[in-house]
Amino acid sequence: MAIEIEARGLSLVYSIRGAKNGRNDKNGKVSGTLTALENVNLAVREGEFLSLVGPSGCGKSTFLYILAGLIKKTSGSILIGGKEVNGPALDRGIIMQAYALFPWRTVQKNVEFGLEVKKVPRAERAGIARGYIELVGLGEFSDRYPFELSGGMKQRIAIARALAYNPDVLLMDEPFAAVDEQTRGALHEELLRIWEETQKTIIFVTHSIDEAIFLSDRVAVMTPGPGTVRKIVDIKLARPRASEIRTSAEFAKYRREIWQLLQNRTDRTEAVVTETCILESEPQEAVI
C-alpha cells in the first residue's frame, strides 16, 4: 500500500487581494502576488517518514495543502504514486494543526466521516471507527462531542479520523504543536507504532528539530519564503526508537546539523540570523 510522492520544480504563487493597484511593489516583485513555493524538488520514498522543517512562512503548510489537493499548484508537477495530483482524494489524509474536528459530530461520527464518503456500510464503518478510536486510546470517549475533549484528545481524534479511511499518505501539519511535552512524547510513540504497523508514507511538518529527528527517516530543511528544499538530512538512528535516544551523541549531531542549516538560511552574520530566528528548540536544550 505504500506510495511514493514526488515534487518536481513545484511552485505556488498566491494572488493577494487588495494589492492589485501595484502599491505593494517591493524589491521588484510583481505586485498582488506572493510566491510561497519556488522550484521545490522533493522525492518521498514509499512508506517513508519524512519531516519538513523551515522558518515560519516558508510554505510548509502550503506544500501539504497542495499535496492534499486543497489548493492548485502554479507550475511544476506533483506526483503521488506516479499520478499527478488533481484535487482531494481518499488516498491522502491531512491532519491540520487546528484539529478541525466537526463540532456537531460525536467522536465516533467524526472518525466515521471518511468512511461515509467511501460509502462503507453503516455497521462496518462503526466497527472500523471504534477500532481507530481505541487505537489512539480514547475508546471511552466515542460518544462525546469535541467540546468535551482536551486539546491532546482532539488531536488524537483528528489522527484517528485520518487513519480510519485508510489513506496511503498521511500529511501532518504541526500536529503536536499545542500539546504538552509529556503528551507529545506519548503521541510520538503512538504515531511511530501506527506508522510501523500500517506502512503509510508520512510527511510531517514541525518547528521542533527534536521531534523531526526522533520521528523521521529523513528531514527536509526548507529555506525561508519563497520556500525551496535546502537540504535533506538522513537520520540513521536505529528503529524502533525509544525516547532515551534523544540524549545520545548521534542525536545531538543531527540536531546541530539541522540547526546550522536553518541558521545559515540568509547567509548573513550570525547576530542577524539569531535575531530573526523563530525556532522553538535550542540545539543545546536536550543535551543535558
Binding site: Y65, A68, L70, A100, P103, W104, Y145, Y165
Partner: protein, 262 residues
C-alpha cells in the same frame, strides 16, 4: 481521565433560577391581591388577581380564550413558516455565494427592518387589506430579516478548516452542504429566530388591534373599549404566558437540536 471528563451537562445544577422566579411571581400576585382588596389601588382599574384568574378560568372553559389564542398563534406560525421557508434558503445563498454582498446590504436591510414595525401596520393594511393576509404579511416581514441574516452570518462563521478537511476526505458538494453547512449554521439560526419571535409576537398583537375579529390583541383591545377591565387583565396575562411559553419552547428546541455546544 474519566473523572476529569465529567461535563457541565452531567453535573446538574439545582434549578435555583426557576424557584426564584416562582417565588417572585407568587409574591407579586399576593401583593396585587392585597393592594386591590385593601383599596391601596382602585379595584375598578386593578381588580384583584383572584378575580382575574377566576375569569380567565371561565373564559378558558367556555372556549373563548382558546379561540383567541389559537387564532393569534395561527397567524404567528403562518408568518413564521413563510419567513423560515424563504429566509433560510436565501440566507444560505447570501452567506455561501455572496458573503460580500451580505456584509454590504446587511446594515441597510437591518435598518429597514428596524423601521418601527408598528408604523408599517397601516402600510400592510393598505397593500393587503385588513384581513388575515396583512397580519400574516407583517409577521413575515418582521421575522424574515433576522432569520435571513442569522442564516447568512451562520454560514459565514463556519470554520474554513472544517470545510477543507471534509473536502480533503473527498466529500462532495451535497455532503458538505448537509453535513457541514447546515449543522454549522443552525445554532445561529435559532438565535435569530429567538430574537425575531418575541418581536413578531408583539407586532402581531398590535396588528390584531386594528380590524381583527379575534386574537389576543383583539381581546385586549376590545375589552379596553368595552371597559371590561377584568377581561383586559385576562388578555394581558395570557399575552405574557404565551410569550413566555414561546421563548421557553424555542429554547428547549434549540437545546435539543444543538447538543454539541456548551
Amino acid at each position: 481521565m474519566g473523572i476529569g471528563m465529567k461535563t457541565a451537562k452531567q453535573i446538574k445544577k439545582p434549578n435555583l433560577g426557576f424557584f426564584v422566579s416562582l417565588v417572585a411571581i407568587i409574591a407579586f400576585f399576593l401583593l396585587w391581591e392585597w393592594a386591590s382588596r385593601s383599596g391601596a389601588v382602585d379595584s375598578q382599574f386593578v381588580p384583584p388577581v383572584s378575580k382575574v384568574l377566576g375569569d380567565a378560568w371561565a373564559l378558558l372553559l367556555n372556549g373563548t380564550l382558546p379561540i383567541h389564542i389559537l387564532s393569534s398563534l395561527a397567524r404567528l406560525f403562518a408568518g413564521l413558516g413563510l419567513a423560515i421557508a424563504l429566509g433560510i434558503p436565501l440566507g444560505f445563498l447570501l452567506g455561501g455565494w455572496a458573503p460580500k454582498l451580505a456584509g454590504f446590504i446587511r446594515p441597510l436591510l437591518m435598518n429597514l427592518s428596524m423601521l418601527n414595525p408598528f408604523a408599517l401596520i397601516p402600510v400592510f393594511m393598505l397593500l393587503l387589506g385588513i384581513g388575515e393576509a396583512s397580519k400574516v404579511g407583517i409577521i413575515f416581514w418582521v421575522l424574515i430579516w433576522p432569520i435571513l441574516f442569522a442564516t447568512a452570518s451562520g454560514v459565514m462563521q463556519i470554520d474554513p478548516a472544517v470545510v477543507s478537511i471534509a473536502r480533503s476526505m473527498g466529500a462532495g458538494g451535497i455532503k458538505i452542504f448537509f453535513d457541514i453547512i447546515v449543522p454549522g449554521t443552525i445554532n445561529r439560526v435559532f438565535t435569530g429566530l429567538k430574537s425575531a419571535l418575541t418581536l413578531g409576537f408583539i407586532v402581531l398583537l398590535s396588528a390584531e388591534m386594528v380590524g381583527a375579529k379575534s386574537g389576543l390583541g383583539w381581546l385586549v383591545f376590545n375589552s379596553n373599549k368595552n371597559y371590561n377591565i377584568t377581561r383586559l387583565y385576562v388578555g394581558i396575562l395570557f399575552v405574557a404566558v404565551i410569550g413566555f411559553l414561546l421563548s421557553v419552547g424555542i429554547d428547549k428546541l434549540q437545546k435539543n437540536i444543538v447538543v454539541w455546544e456548551e
